[in-house]
Subunit: 138 residues, 4 copies
């Protein structure tokens, strides 16, 4: 199912996240994406924490990032996360990171629902599918 | 120019790099790729440190990662880095991470030579091109 | 001069900050302290960023942490930062981290004003001393 | 029991570990200490991994660090870890980090053996006490 859910979160680049180029280290964007999708799931109504408590995990299967412009210490980042598709066990997120309306990075991740018991791909909990279906693109 | 340079480095997953899933956090792979390419450049004969001292920086422009299997605490990772192409200001790296010959992740990054003065893309230093041309694929 | 300035900031434990014990990794507290003192300095009226732009750096000279109870993923941390003393080039911060009024960690850091030019300890900028003196403990 | 065990490990400062001051970020030293003590425990004969598998965890209860001089990108750090005392459930480690024989940081951590079942302090496994007693200071 194609979905159109979108959620924006803001955060500031930490000093620890800069590198000696004077920029935010490129590896931190995976963390920013994760923060974005955690908040997106929370708004959909299914916190990541509760998913784990119900016996599910959501490891990342693929990620891509396009770095357009650097971010600096103390910059206020706006992370827009879209949930674009759920297909079998897979959930697809799309991200755009902005500083004052200027896009500095985009990216995508594919996550897979797995069962904590055997770590194998599994159908998402039906409660989640129901919650997400409110945002189905028709 | 297409190149075939390849270099393997080994490192152990640190405790700090695990997450509560019990796996190595997916965001750490960007660091592993960076360690791989730093050592690759060192073997080619041009340390990243010396590039910065000569007034160049090499920010990452794109990254993609395919996560095939999890890595765990204390696992010994073998990171194979290939330099596959240099094209204008761009340098393309390809990575494979293995645990005992089993591939756990693959990925690619595009880096761009920029001048420290104006942060604009620039031709790589001629010394570097010369060093890399030893590995040109014909 | 002894001072009594205090500032509270809140943040959530990120997934990337957990380790396989299921707790927030002990090394992250240095980052939390830094976030606390950055916001403290901002409220005093002297952002860390502007200090660097004026040619000062504030490296940490000592840190101690007492871990009382674990923090978990998604916990909302309340970081209270006090500036307790300025003595020559040294600035002393004291921290308490709480989850719902329960203290989970305390700590202290000593920072030293150094000049960017020669990286030697130096008097703080007079503007900063003036701003901080509003909070002098008499 | 007072002990005199000591173990040295080497590692290079990663690019991701630098900050915009151009130095290794102060928060990383907790990771370096952890790497030092993990290797120390391995040499004593009890890997941290096997301790966890036997149902023990070793959270850090206190840490202090004295930063003497900065470390930079690509610096080769020599981390010397001493196990200085075991007292009830507590294990005390002492660290010195050097670059070419020059001390750049020292520190201490107290760790506590806890049982995975109830997360309460517990006696160390007898096998560990026996292994460590070879290094008892008389």
């Amino acid at each position: 199912m194609k979905t159109f859910f979108s959620k924006i979160v803001e955060l500031r680049v930490r000093y620890s996240e800069t590198d000696q180029m004077g920029y935010c280290y490129y590896g931190n964007y995976a963390q920013y994406f994760e923060i974005g999708r955690v908040e997106a799931l929370r708004v959909v109504g299914m916190s990541y924490k509760s998913l784990e408590e119900q016996g599910y995990m959501l490891p990342v299967s693929t990620m891509d990032v396009q770095y357009k412009a650097p971010a600096k210490y103390d910059d206020l980042l706006e992370i827009e996360t879209r949930i674009t598709e759920m297909k079998g066990a897979r959930l697809i997120f799309n991200y755009a990171i902005r500083i004052e309306d200027r896009i500095i990075a985009t990216g995508n991740t594919t996550l897979v629902f797995v069962s904590k018991d055997d770590m194998r791909p599994t159908q998402p909990p039906s409660g989640f599918t129901q919650l997400l279906s409110k945002y189905e693109e028709i």
